[in-house]
Symmetry: C3
Subunit: 436 residues, 3 copies
Amino acid sequence: MSLGDLLYAQVNELFPICRSITGNGVRETLKILARDLPGLNSKEIESGTQCFDWKVPNEWNITDAYIITPDGEKIADFKISNLHVVGYSIPIDRIVTLEELDAHLHSLPELPEAIPYVTSYYKERWGFCLPHAQRLRLRAGNYRVKIASSLEPGYLTYGELVIPGRTEEEIFLSTYICHPSMANNELSGPVVAHALAQWLLTLPSRKFTYRFIFIPETIGSIAYLSIWLAHLKARVRAGFNISCVGDERCYSYLPSRLGNTLADRVAKHVLKNLVGEYKVYSFLDRGSDERQYCSPGVDLPLCCISRSKYGEYPEYHTSLDNMKFITPDGLESSLECFRKCMICLEGNEILQSTMICEPQLGPRGLYPMLSERNNQDQDLADLMNILAYSDGERDLLGIAETLRRPLWELLDTVQKLKDHGLLRSVSEGRVRHEWT
Amino acid sequence: MSLGDLLYAQVNELFPICRSITGNGVRETLKILARDLPGLNSKEIESGTQCFDWKVPNEWNITDAYIITPDGEKIADFKISNLHVVGYSIPIDRIVTLEELDAHLHSLPELPEAIPYVTSYYKERWGFCLPHAQRLRLRAGNYRVKIASSLEPGYLTYGELVIPGRTEEEIFLSTYICHPSMANNELSGPVVAHALAQWLLTLPSRKFTYRFIFIPETIGSIAYLSIWLAHLKARVRAGFNISCVGDERCYSYLPSRLGNTLADRVAKHVLKNLVGEYKVYSFLDRGSDERQYCSPGVDLPLCCISRSKYGEYPEYHTSLDNMKFITPDGLESSLECFRKCMICLEGNEILQSTMICEPQLGPRGLYPMLSERNNQDQDLADLMNILAYSDGERDLLGIAETLRRPLWELLDTVQKLKDHGLLRSVSEGRVRHEWT
Amino acid sequence: MSLGDLLYAQVNELFPICRSITGNGVRETLKILARDLPGLNSKEIESGTQCFDWKVPNEWNITDAYIITPDGEKIADFKISNLHVVGYSIPIDRIVTLEELDAHLHSLPELPEAIPYVTSYYKERWGFCLPHAQRLRLRAGNYRVKIASSLEPGYLTYGELVIPGRTEEEIFLSTYICHPSMANNELSGPVVAHALAQWLLTLPSRKFTYRFIFIPETIGSIAYLSIWLAHLKARVRAGFNISCVGDERCYSYLPSRLGNTLADRVAKHVLKNLVGEYKVYSFLDRGSDERQYCSPGVDLPLCCISRSKYGEYPEYHTSLDNMKFITPDGLESSLECFRKCMICLEGNEILQSTMICEPQLGPRGLYPMLSERNNQDQDLADLMNILAYSDGERDLLGIAETLRRPLWELLDTVQKLKDHGLLRSVSEGRVRHEWT
């Protein structure tokens, strides 16, 4: 079973669960994710807790929902698709006319076979979502509407995993777990984040501390920031919002508000060198938790790498964003992309050549002893160029950009030069200074 | 009668007056402009006054000028066109041969029907300007040349209007009144400036103090700067030289020497968003009073918006730059352009979101309570985006540029956000600090 | 005899000498160059001297070398071409089989008629270079190989010429004299440098002190820097590595590592205004002594102007880089290019207009007293524009770039404005301050 297949299977396992911004669906999702990810802890924040301008809402749970038509047919059955019920619907069990019902129905004329995804977190109402084609077939008569939900004081639940590194500087990875049965937006995100964390745990050593959070979108990131803002602002060196990373369409990059943070530089370097072509969005196209992470006064160095970005594909926020929309290859190559980002972050440092002028490389076995025309190969060119640009000001990422080489292909050469005492890192000291 | 027709009629009223850099034509012009513009005062500077490297020249006045041909025909008649006499011609009344006369004639072979506009402010001479076709028809013989002018110690006259605002920071608007009967260059300038001032006076409140000057070109701006330089350098936040704004050809933008002042930013924003296409000149193409305002050590934040720019159209500085060259629509739309510049300046401020993270807009009635696909409209997008970019560093002009939206279409949303306590201005304090 | 012919003749005289990084060939070359260049002194550094990471190698001299074939034919005869012997070959006089010999032979299959240029400075070995076509014709049998060389403690020899100027600020010109009989790379370099120095000596006065060095590549520049680094870093304002300047192909520009030094600005200005089109290389394409001069911690403001750059033409480092490859015109026009660079450096200064606002030019005879349409010519435009941009911040090079005019065509106008007291230099004082 390939890694992609494993990721796909995990999405598949999580798919049926009815998640929302609070409730047991979130707890169940986190439990599954924690099964093989030691250290992933569930945290809870009480309903009513003030988080900046927001209050954590009541907890919503649901066990069943459906409509019985005048013909006795059960439609909009929550047990068939949890998208059928408007998220955060209040409980109801009533007989209504078609006209009354219609005011509570949601459908998409442009996608007549799709069930749309609709929520009403902050205003109490009830409603059903169904394919537009089906809605058109409804005849006058009395309908029984039943929603077996509860909306009561409880908790907002989220997952947090901190993987320690040699330094207290952090890489921040955020993904969301608040959508019911949808695949690209959303399950691709937590599943890829989960696999990325597993991979980081296998590394023999990490420079950075890695902080993963699995949160409900918007209220979750706001709540998390309301607790951790000072810590994150002091420690986070780069971050990514991981969302919509399951399909095989074009890669997307959405910059931070400031546009030139370390996360942005890494994302562009990886996308250019690993992927080649990718779609560049503007921060004006934002829509997920980067809205909070990059808001004025927060401004974490965080950007987004996606495949088909939220809001940009027809299946978005409908029942068509399902297991057919994503693929094992899509998930695996997205994971690889984030791995490369982590490798770039781990490998990046400010380098300084230890010698004035070029060192004599020949006697060290690093340069041919016979001078002939055209005897340079790529490794030798890298070696000479890294030395030439390691001026104690540039970081390796900048050097890799100048050299038009992927950073990860330079790491062996950097190590070789360090082993020969020809290169030294000057960033560790500096960086430590920054946060001590 | 449309506003454009009113502007056109005013140009028409001023057209026959013989203006020069000094003299009664300037006084008469200012008197007409002041009729319906309270506060526009005429000021005078004595001949001989030293203004930096220059001296205010003697005052020139003229009542008549003509040539009588050997056939007794009166030609080059000042009473028919004041362009017929070289500006600042000394008085003369003499009989001369054709050969002697010819050395004092000016015509344009490339525009054989046009009377050119020629002056000699700083070297005493006399001369006549006439159509080249007419000049070619002159036959040998004795000609009587008569110029009834005077060149004597007197005054340089200019107009000044200061419209007070809430702050002592100033917007500086300069236009010139030294050309005889020409329409685009020059009367479009003072007439549009005059209407702009009238409009500013109708505003219920102004942030800025507005300083308008109506001066003779070059010597007037130098003389004005010799008195007001320190004041202007301390107070002026943006300025425009208003010239050649009467025809309907392409808009022109001529940057300040520094190129990126607030005036430049506003001019480009308005031209891009109001006009669309416009011709961008270089400061190397300068030719009017920006030569002084942007000279080293002066460097006021001032640029020029024109229609057909001085020196760039065939009719320039000839009798063809007449009432047919300009139009009511040309004048009115140029005025609108400057109004929008003033609106941008008045509305521009550094903004700061008052909340950490996004505020909860729904309960404030600023955001839909039901979350469906694609439920954002332009106003909502503006509102979210203004909040997202109001970081206490950017000004609204910069935000409007980022949002690719005209600043003036954002003002209502800014006000709404302020009314809800979600946005505050942080520039007033700063700015006051700058000039106190 | 044209200047180009003289340069060509000098290359021709130097061509037969067998130069290497040390030895009598260097001494002989410097002696010829010093014949008509007073002040060019030879300096020597002892073998074994430590220079940063390097040691000056033993001195190599050679009087003869050849191979006798089994047929008794003398081939690879050093006396016919000194390229036949691998540079720094140890002495040998032995009978070897073809197989044994073959391991010591060097040839170029892609250029079967060319003798390649091969060296082995830092590993003792012996070897011969010959045309690949000839190599293929060698038959089995016993070969006598004879190299009459010596490799013993001695000296590294280089030439140095310092031409004093009014200030102690220096322009640094480096060229190399370590290659045997090759024309473009290398003799064009020292010969053009030599002529440039002669021309500088004819100037009545020089602002800058000019430092020329004629060194062996790599070890020479490293050795020189090991002695002069602090001095050069304090004094050098611009520098050029002069190499490959003898042919008539496209001009090449190779920037400094930092890319925007005064030398880079001058090189680009001259190439654009004198030459027009030229090939822009990256510092990644470096290969000569800029490797040392621009290395981290050294970072002299130095770049390279070449014709066919080293490594970029097929004849490079072979016997085809001969007197047919270069031309009198190629040498002369390259010299002219460097002269213009020196003129730009000498003429460059930070200028400041002495007046507030434009000065009154008419009475000074600098502006027409009659104002008519289109009466500006290039000189007048230059004059007005230089005044307008001389703000005490920009240097003349920057002004020339803004004006899109060659700096050297502005010098008369600058002088005229200074003579009238309208312009003053503000750089001399500053610059003196920098290095006092």
